[in-house]
Amino acid sequence: MRMQPVWISRRGSTASQVLLRPLLRVLNWLRIALCVHALVVNALRWHEVALAGCWSPP
């Protein structure tokens, strides 16, 4: 098991530089997409939460 993130432990390796940068970029876009998905899901069930009385909209 690595003690440091691969982009630090294998800083000199071309493989880690070439591979990890695009992978992290993809992950960033995935995070944004999943954030939008979570917002939509929560907006759609907003009225259920309000009806249940657990969360009062301001």
Binding site: I8, R25, R31
Partner: protein, 323 residues
């Protein structure tokens, strides 16, 4: 969640901010949002579909951990982020437990994938470097062969006709030519790993005008410690040839690889000796034979056999087990 998404996008896109502390913070945010799902949504609403407040957004933090640290940390952090829902709302509902299973599997899967990609790209880089170094060596070989080696060969050929100084010059040219050829054929340039050494490349360095090395074309990888020991043994035996076998003696080293055994035969055409004299030399405390040869071979778990007769040179056979 929106703020954290923006922060993460910035942090992970720059190497200066792509730090361990941010990974930990990312995980804490994911776990906190998952843990707050039931209290914020209410148990009834949450129990409808067991869809957490950040939904699948929370998997991103374990995925970064899997990319950064590998399979096991990826699986563990995935299980922690997914499993926090079970801890906060204990239930045997399959939809709830699925979070734990799916997040752990995704973390492990991405870890395996990244490790595989990194190792295959590393292999590819090594292969490229090896090809480039071989191509460069061949280019230098051609240049040296057409220039320096031709001149040395000329000096070696014409020298003896120029009197005693010419003979000396020819001998020096022969020696230098032989060294240069060894250097040009040096197989240690393309060693695949630092802790593994090609023993054929190590033995090749002993090639000279009086020593001929014969080894197989393929590599024989041994640990660097074994290579050092074998090299020291061969050096000692060749030094003994130079010291005791007479001025005109030549030596031949043959390397063979049979199964899990390395066989090194060293033969010289010197004045020779009685075999028992050589073994007794060790018993009498001649450090060279006792420690440098027999001791080292014994430490490597191998055997050394010496055959010698007056006027017929000395013949060593070293058998060393290798992986």
């Amino acid at each position: 969640m929106v703020t954290w998404t923006a922060l993460a996008a910035l942090a992970y896109s720059r190497s200066a901010t792509r730090r361990q502390a941010f990974l930990v913070a990312d995980l804490v945010v994911a776990v906190a949002l998952m843990a707050l799902s039931a209290p914020i949504l209410g148990t009834t609403v949450f129990a409808n579909d067991y869809l957490a407040l950040p939904a699948y957004w929370a998997i991103c933090a374990p995925l970064v951990v899997a990319m950064a640290y590998g399979v096991v940390p990826g699986a563990i952090t995935g299980a922690v982020v997914g499993g926090i829902l079970v801890v906060v709302t204990p239930s045997l509902e399959p939809a709830l437990w699925s979070w734990l299973v799916v997040f752990a599997l995704l973390g492990a899967g991405i870890g395996v994938l990244v490790d595989l990609l990194l190792s295959s790209m590393g292999e590819r880089d090594r292969a490229f470097a090896e090809t480039a170094s071989l191509a460069e060596r061949e280019r230098l070989n051609r240049i040296v062969h057409d220039g320096v080696l031709q001149v040395l060969a000329l000096v070696e050929r014409e020298g003896p006709g120029m009197g005693p100084r010419g003979v000396r010059l020819a001998a020096l040219a022969r020696e230098q030519e032989s060294r240069l050829r060894v250097l040009l054929l040096d197989r240690s340039l393309d060693q695949p790993a630092a802790d593994q050494v090609d023993i054929t490349a190590v033995l090749d360095r002993h090639e000279s005008s009086t020593v001929t090395i014969s080894a197989m074309a393929e590599r024989v990888m041994v640990s660097s410690r074994e290579a050092l020991e074998i090299d020291a043994v061969v050096t000692e035996i060749l030094a003994n040839v130079a010291k005791h076998a007479g001025p005109a003696a030549r030596a031949w080293v043959l390397l063979e690889h049979e199964g899990r055994e390395l066989i090194i035969s060293l033969r010289d055409n010197g004045i020779g000796a009685k075999a028992e004299d050589i073994t007794k030399a060790g018993e009498r405390g001649h450090i060279g034979v006792r420690e440098s040869v027999l001791g080292r071979i014994r430490d490597l778990g191998g055997q050394a056999v010496v055959r010698a007769a007056p006027g017929r040179g000395v013949d060593w056979e070293l058998r060393i087990p290798v992986q």
